[in-house]
């Protein structure tokens, strides 16, 4: 488990991408989404849990995710967020874009490592 100081604050806009990715396997409620992000990043990424909700609604507004009311494991009513077809497409687009961005930034920061590549 990493200490607090190692944690990285999320870049603007990346939360949306992570939410989409997290929902790829299937619908989830809000708390599960944050937990998944934290777990999958090995707790390196720091998400202020509240900021999830404006992001979720932005995605609903754009039609990338949908909401359904459902009952959770312990019989509580909860909102389940799921990926829509448009959201699935958007995830591909954004992932590609992210990869390009990450490569470009890496190339600038460490030019020698780029040269050493085959």
């Amino acid at each position: 488990m990493s200490t607090k100081d190692d944690r990285i604050e999320l870049l603007q806009g990346t939360l949306d991408l992570l939410i989409l990715r997290t929902l790829l396997p299937g619908p989830a409620h809000g708390h599960a989404i944050v937990k998944a992000i934290e777990r999958d990043s090995e707790e390196l990424l720091l998400v202020e849990q509240g900021s999830l909700y404006p992001a979720l609604h932005r995605l609903i507004k754009r039609g990338w995710i949908g909401v359904t009311e459902g009952t959770s494991e312990n019989n509580r009513r909860a909102k389940y967020y799921r990926l829509t077809a448009a959201g699935r497409k958007q995830l591909t687009v954004q992932t590609t874009r992210w990869d390009k961005l990450a490569r470009a930034i890496a190339r600038i920061l460490r030019p020698e490592s780029e040269e050493s590549r085959p």
């Binding site: 409620h29 708390h31 849990q49 509240g50 909700y53 979720l56 609604h57 909401v67 909860a78």
Partner: protein, 871 residues
């Protein structure tokens, strides 16, 4: 379908509970677990706000998109857009202009410090119908009342101001020193007068500019005010205005700005007498935290004590008034402004109805487009919002243009408005007016925009599409609603027109004049006669004698007379001689409006007075002789003959020296105010009068009165150069000024009523023409089957007249209920005057007929062959 935002709170609560549960599972205590969960979540309120904001921006975005779409749509239909925008601009412009008046006069606080603590104090005298305070009462209030931080007594009047530069007539206010605190004024030059200054004057910026050409050395100089030497102490800043109510003398048509300030002598005169003579206006400033009720009860206690100690003074005729100053200032203008405001909002309603009508017609034409959009999946709500967006665009255009119009109209209104309207000069388009215009714009946009949308809700897409054809009855769905709107428009217009009609009739009544009275040929020149030289009445008489002689010699002068009006002090004793009717004090109190007019023998020829009994005054009478008017004769002598009877004019009736015999009775004549009935009047020859300071010279001219003014002015000046003529007007002008506020109301109401009529004309034409266009085929068939053209003509006309009849009936009932609210604006006309109602109804019916004629003729000349081919 539920909105994603529904149950957002539950969602977040659920989230935090899950986190708490997890923390407990990790071994935290429940309290710790919850605190940690909340910390990790962040500020719940902010999160909810941000989440909601996501959706608000969507809504706004879509609305903006709709407005853009609407503007694009309107560009394809410029004629329609222009009509709607212009109608709206006119209505909103008028409303904004009137509201800016209401704002300046009724709403905006006085620009003096702590305006909500300023109160008007007065003793209302029910006989004189005035709220004034006697000097001794004021001094007692000032000394004894603890509720006030300041209390100012003041009066306003015309004075002759003479400096090395020359003499001129100016309006000054005499104020006690508390005025400076109450008004918050600071001198830009010199200082203000304090309690120790008795002979000082403070100049307004205007007077400083006009008379002293901004010479700073004027401070300390000596000038004379009404012949008394005073020192110029200071100058007020530019833009400072005297805003206290002026309830005496200046209140009628010729109110003017106060040009200078002199000390009010009430404080040092220590008047012990004169509790009956109320000449002071009083305004006070409440101490912080003191309620107006508390001040009122304190003052009432003081006043009760004064009344007990002065049994001879008639306090039983008076009652104390303590009113917030703002309320007192607005009181005279309020009824008229509210009527105007109501009238102008009627115009706005009519405009809304008209535009809703146009939109309905357009909506009908666009039904197919809409049906297609709904059929291919547009939400009904979205389509309605799109209509709203389009209408909002229209409203915003109209509102902006209207605001522009109001801005342009403001100076015009200000020149038309009577100067007696308080604080009119402060009329501007400020934030409050802008807000009003915006509210009116959005409100109208919503009202007229929602009507077609509601109608659309009911229409079924598939039916519209099924009918398909252009000429189907698709649009007729809105026709009943459109007829209803037009009838309502007509009703509203009728109410406005009746209001305006009643005012026109009032004017006609006010301006009715008897034969022989030609105010346009009479010149009225004010000669105040100021200064110590004319304190003695003998001097005044000599001046009058010489002046009349010189004026009458002038070419083109038919007759001349002096005129000085006043009220006589009554005597306390009853007459012993049955032939002497003395005006006892009690009678004067009950005849509050007896006017005592000092005149000379030429007065009857100047005015064209008609002698009813006896004769008019001769150049010189053997004994004390007076003439009275019919109202006076009736008041004092009832049905009996007044000629040969006597009136006691002095303090003591039994003193034969002050007893005058009535030698004639003349018919009543209104020559000073048009909007009040003639009052009982006594004409006293100036040889008999005890003082006639502040007199007016009345001159009847053979030709153009205005052209003769300079010659007469110089003739008067040649008698005594130190006594300038203060003001010259034809009597016609003076009379017109006396009803200036009423004329202003009439202009505005007339404009509104005319606009309403115009809009109603457009509205009724629109509906009838539309109805005809819809039924062209039906009419074609009728004609083809042998209907006479006259029958078709009648068919259409009847439709128009049915609408008109409905509108007029409702309008008459509404007018009957509403016009009584404008009773105070009318003169000698009942608010339910049947002839006005009939005339206005006829005008409206004729308008409706005219509006139906064109479509009716068009229908009558339909060519059956061509219409049927179109099918």
């Amino acid at each position: 379908m539920s909105h994603p935002l529904d149950n957002l709170g539950d969602d977040i609560r659920d989230h935090i509970e899950r986190e708490t549960q997890e923390n407990i599972e990790r071994g935290m205590s429940p309290e710790e677990a919850r605190a940690a969960a909340l910390r990790k979540f962040g500020n719940v309120t902010r999160v909810m706000e941000e989440t909601r904001a996501v959706w608000i921006s969507v809504w706004l975005e879509q609305l903006l998109q709709d407005i853009r779409y609407g503007v694009r749509g309107l560009r394809h239909n410029p004629g329609f857009a222009a009509v709607v925008v212009l109608t709206l601009a006119m209505a909103i412009g008028m409303n904004t202009a009137v509201f800016s008046l209401v704002n300046a006069i009724l709403v905006r606080p006085l620009p003096y410090p702590d305006p909500d603590r300023l109160v008007w104090l007065g003793n209302y005298n029910r006989f004189f119908k005035a709220e004034m305070v006697s000097s001794p009462d004021y001094v007692d209030w000032k000394d004894q009342a603890a509720s006030f931080a300041g209390i100012v007594a003041y009066g306003t009047g015309g004075y002759t101001l003479a400096s090395a530069e020359g003499a001129g007539h100016h309006v000054l206010a005499d104020v006690t020193t508390d005025f400076w605190d109450i008004s918050g004024a600071r001198p830009v030059l010199g200082r203000f007068f304090g309690p120790e200054d008795r002979d000082g004057i403070v100049l307004s910026d205007e007077l400083f500019e006009r008379e002293f050409r901004r010479d700073p050395d004027v401070v300390g100089q000596s000038v004379t005010v009404n012949g008394r030497a005073v020192t110029v102490l200071g100058v007020l800043p530019k833009g400072f205005r005297f805003l206290l109510p002026t309830s005496f003398g200046l209140q009628t048509g010729n109110a003017r700005e106060i040009e200078g300030y002199i000390p009010n002598p009430v404080v040092w005169q220590h008047p012990s007498r004169g509790r009956n003579v109320s000449i002071q206006s009083v305004v006070a400033k409440l101490k912080p935290g003191i309620s107006i009720e508390r001040a009122r009860s304190e003052l009432a206690g003081i006043q009760a004590r004064i009344a007990g100690e002065n049994p001879e003074a008639r306090y039983d005729a008076q009652s104390l008034r303590v009113t917030p100053l703002q309320e007192k200032l607005a009181a005279s203008a309020r009824p008229a402004l509210l009527v105007l405001f109501a009238a102008v909002s009627f115009v706005l309603l009519i405009a809304c109805a008209n535009i809703a009508n146009l939109l309905l017609a357009r909506g009908a034409a666009r039904q197919k487009e809409i049906a297609i959009r709904i059929a291919i999946g547009a939400g009904r709500a979205r389509v309605i919002r799109q209509f709203l967006g389009e209408n909002l665009a229209l409203a915003l255009f109209g509102g902006t243009l209207g605001l522009l119009l109001a801005r342009l109209a403001a100076p015009v209104i200000m020149t038309l408005a009577p100067p007696s309207l308080p604080r009119l000069g402060e009329t501007t388009i400020d934030g409050r007016v802008l807000l009003f215009a915006l509210a009116a714009t959005l409100g109208t946009g919503f009202i007229f925009g929602i009507t077609p949308a509601i109608l659309l809700r009911r229409s079924k897409a598939y039916e519209v599409l099924k009918q398909g054809g252009r000429t189907s009855s698709a649009g007729s769905a809105g026709l009943p609603l459109r007829r209803l709107l037009v009838a309502a428009e007509l009703a509203l217009a009728l109410v406005l027109l009746i209001g305006a009609g009643l005012m026109v009739k009032s004017f006609w009544r006010m301006n009715a004049r008897p034969p022989g009275f030609d105010p346009e040929r009479i010149l009225a020149l004010q000669v105040p006669l100021s200064g110590p030289k004319y304190r003695a009445v003998a001097q005044q008489r000599r001046f009058a004698e010489e002046m009349l002689e010189r004026v009458e010699q002038g070419p083109g002068v038919e007759a001349a007379s002096v005129l000085a009006q006043g009220q006589l002090r009554g005597s306390g004793t009853a007459p012993h001689n049955p032939n002497v009717a003395s005006l006892s004090s009690a009678q004067v109190m009950h005849l509050p409006h007896v006017t005592f007019s000092t005149v000379s023998s030429g007065f009857d020829r100047v005015m064209g007075l008609r002698v009813v009994r006896g004769r008019w005054l001769a150049e010189s009478e053997p004994g004390p002789a007076i003439v009275i008017n019919e109202s006076m004769a009736h008041e004092v002598f009832g049905e009996g003959d007044a000629v040969g009877k006597h009136l006691g004019l002095g303090d003591n009736v039994d003193d034969p020296a002050t007893r005058a015999s009535i030698i004639g009775v003349v018919s009543d004549l209104k020559y000073s105010r048009l909007d009040a009935p003639a009052e009982p009047e006594v004409y006293i020859p100036y040889q008999l009068s005890s003082s006639f300071l502040g007199m007016t010279v009345m001159v009847r001219t053979a030709t153009d009165a205005t052209a003769m003014a300079p010659a007469i002015r110089s003739a008067i000046a040649s008698v005594d150069r130190t006594q300038p003529v203060a003001e010259v007007k034809t009597l016609e002008q003076a009379l017109a000024d006396s009803i200036a506020p009423r004329r202003f109301n009439l202009y505005l109401l007339g404009t509104f009523a005319t606009s309403a009529l115009l809009l109603a004309l457009i509205g009724i034409y629109g509906v009838i023409a539309y109805g005809v266009a819809q039924r062209t085929q039906e009419i074609g068939v009728r004609i083809a089957l042998g209907a006479q053209r006259s029958q078709v003509l009648w068919l259409v006309l009847r439709e128009g007249m049915t609408l008109a009849a409905a509108g007029i009936t409702v309008g008459l009932a509404a007018a009957f209920a509403l016009t009584r609210l404008m009773t105070s604006l009318l003169y000698d006309v009942k608010p339910t005057d049947p002839s006005t109602y009939a005339a206005v109804a006829a005008v409206l019916a004729a308008t409706a007929l005219a509006a139906s004629c064109k479509p009716a003729l068009k229908a009558a000349w339909v060519d059956p062959a061509s219409t049927l081919r179109q099918e």
